[in-house]
Amino acid sequence: MNGLWMWLKFAWHNCLRNRRRSLVTASIAMLGTAAILLAGGFAQFTYESLAQAAARDTGHLVLGTPAHFSADEDVPLQYGLDDVAALRSALLADPAVRAVLPRVVFSGLISNGDKTAVMMAQGVEPDAEFAVKGPFLTLQEGALLAGDAAQPQVLLGADLARSLKATPGSSLTLLASTTEGAMNAMDVVVVGTFSTGVPDVDKRAVYTSVPVAQQLLATQRVSSLGVFLDRMESTAAARERLGQQFAPLQVQTWEQQAFFYRSVRDLYNRIFGALGVIIGVIVVFVVTNAMAMAVIERTREIGTLRALGTLPAQLLRSLGLEGMLLGGAGALAGALLALGVALLLLLFPVDMPPPPGRSVGYPLSVSVDPALYLLTMLAMVLLTLLASLLVARKTVHMPVVDALGHT
């Protein structure tokens, strides 16, 4: 312990020899660490947000027939679920299941009498859907669907409403193929308009109630059941459990349904992974350069220490500690900087512009993940140690006579 303390003290004093150089080296390590932590924290926040949005949209689990997930239907709800009430009761008996929401997904036409547009519609249970899912869409005009409405209601995407010149109270007609393949039509009243933040969706999206959708499609089936759990972490275990319980029906997780989430995660992992590698290389170069200068300047001193009986391994340890101190100080400062920026963003929110294909921005937030902080700091210290050892290796093994004669 005393020996390590002596080497540490020696390394610390050596770091202070050329303060400006040490400061620059530690600053690069600091900026590198902060950049990795901020980028990583931003990516993590994005993943968490997208994961929650995806799970909120579909449910943590989706129960359907195997063909529902893999095959294209010839007629609406060809691969839908029957006996929904029994399935729902059985699902709700599971301790991890908080809610079960049936969903009827269909497409068709919507018309105001003068103009007709294509719609992508979902039949939902109005009261439960909006209560369980929370604010998943922005109501722009009117009200949400009512569960006990006397007449059939629809909620329109804002761009679709604009296209059809529909406002709350307007009457429209829905047209769709029934499960038998015949055409059916139904008059509905617009109760409100909403925006999902994705213009392409808002041009086509229609929400109505499950009974209205089933009446239009002339069926008692639903497309799938969205299963909402008590927490995200229950997803894998519940999937395993419910998958066995409801076989041959199939249970998929929100992640299997969330193409956008997976795409963003893959993209960000590559971008931020490459960024991390670049930062790591820069830090290694800077530390290598700083340590190379330090070692060259001290070659004669290294020769003296070798003459006095210091083993090369002991000198390597000392120089490695020196690099680790610089990297460690920089990593610690970088972590504090990243933490400070993350806190500042909480106190003074900054809005990001809308991503491509979206109409609304989102708040810039950075997650603070202790594991990410610990790993990044550890990696920074190891990188600087590696760079120091790489540089010092040759000099500490130089013949003592040559080292003493170095000018």
């Binding site: 020899r17 003296t304 070798r306 009986g309 090369p312 003592v400």
Partner: protein, 231 residues
């Protein structure tokens, strides 16, 4: 790692038929051409001669920081041929002290830490090290400068620190390369007195390469070298 125990009756250094050449590009420069030399315990031996005569080469070989091309070298009866680099390092650590012309103190260490360093390397306990360092600094008259950095000392004081560092572990042999060359005559006299006194007090042999006539006059024996041969 252990090395053979010292033979108290044997000379501290025994060199027999030692030859050493250096290569400088295509040129082969004979540095030593068959040198026989013995240094006894407690002896203050001066090596003199013009530049290139082989003084430093003898110091390097005695100090185990270089190896001969031919011949035999023994320290206190222990042959040093065949020792690997780690064994030579540990032998230097335990049995040899070095005093350099330009002091070669570690600038980031205090005076006490410089003197303490060889004991730290040897694994001596902290309380014993403190006591021995204090005693050694008192012996060289620098007890009041223990916490100073070398750059706060005069040249003479620095060389005193170097001598204290060389003697702190009670070595069998101290290698001194032009120890007074960087000092004024008054300070050089003081350093010489100190070396002589510590040589007698510690029983260590000194091998000193020097051009300084005052120093050679006060050594026990003077060996003159010319073209790699003892005259």
């Amino acid at each position: 790692m252990m090395h053979a125990p010292a033979d108290a009756a044997a000379p501290v250094v025994r060199m027999r038929g030692v030859r050493k050449t250096y290569r400088l590009g295509a040129h082969v420069i004979p540095a030593l051409q068959g040198v026989d030399l013995e240094v006894q315990r407690g002896e203050l031996l001066a090596l003199t001669g013009p530049s290139g005569s082989g003084k430093s080469t003898i110091l390097n070989l005695c100090g185990l920081i270089d190896t001969p091309d031919e011949g035999h070298i023994a320290l206190s009866g222990t042959p040093v041929q065949g020792l690997d680099e780690a064994e030579r390092t540990l032998l230097r650590r335990d049995a040899l002290g070095f005093v350099f012309q330009s002091f070669n103190l570690v600038p980031v260490m205090t005076v006490a830490e410089n003197v303490d360093y060889p004991l730290f390397l040897a694994g001596v306990s902290a309380p014993e090290r403190r006591e021995r360092v204090a005693r050694q600094l008192a012996a060289v008259g620098l007890q009041d400068h223990a916490r100073h950095r070398p750059d706060a000392l005069s040249g003479g004081q620095r060389q005193r620190v170097a001598i204290a560092r060389a003697l702190i572990k009670r070595p069998r042999l101290v290698i001194a390369d032009e120890p007074t060359a960087s000092l004024d005559s008054h300070t050089a006299d003081q350093v010489l007195d100190l070396m002589r006194e510590r040589c007698q007090a510690e029983g260590a042999a000194f091998v000193i390469a020097t051009h300084d006539q005052r120093l050679t006059r006060r050594c026990d024996r003077v060996v003159a070298l010319l073209d790699g041969r003892i005259q």
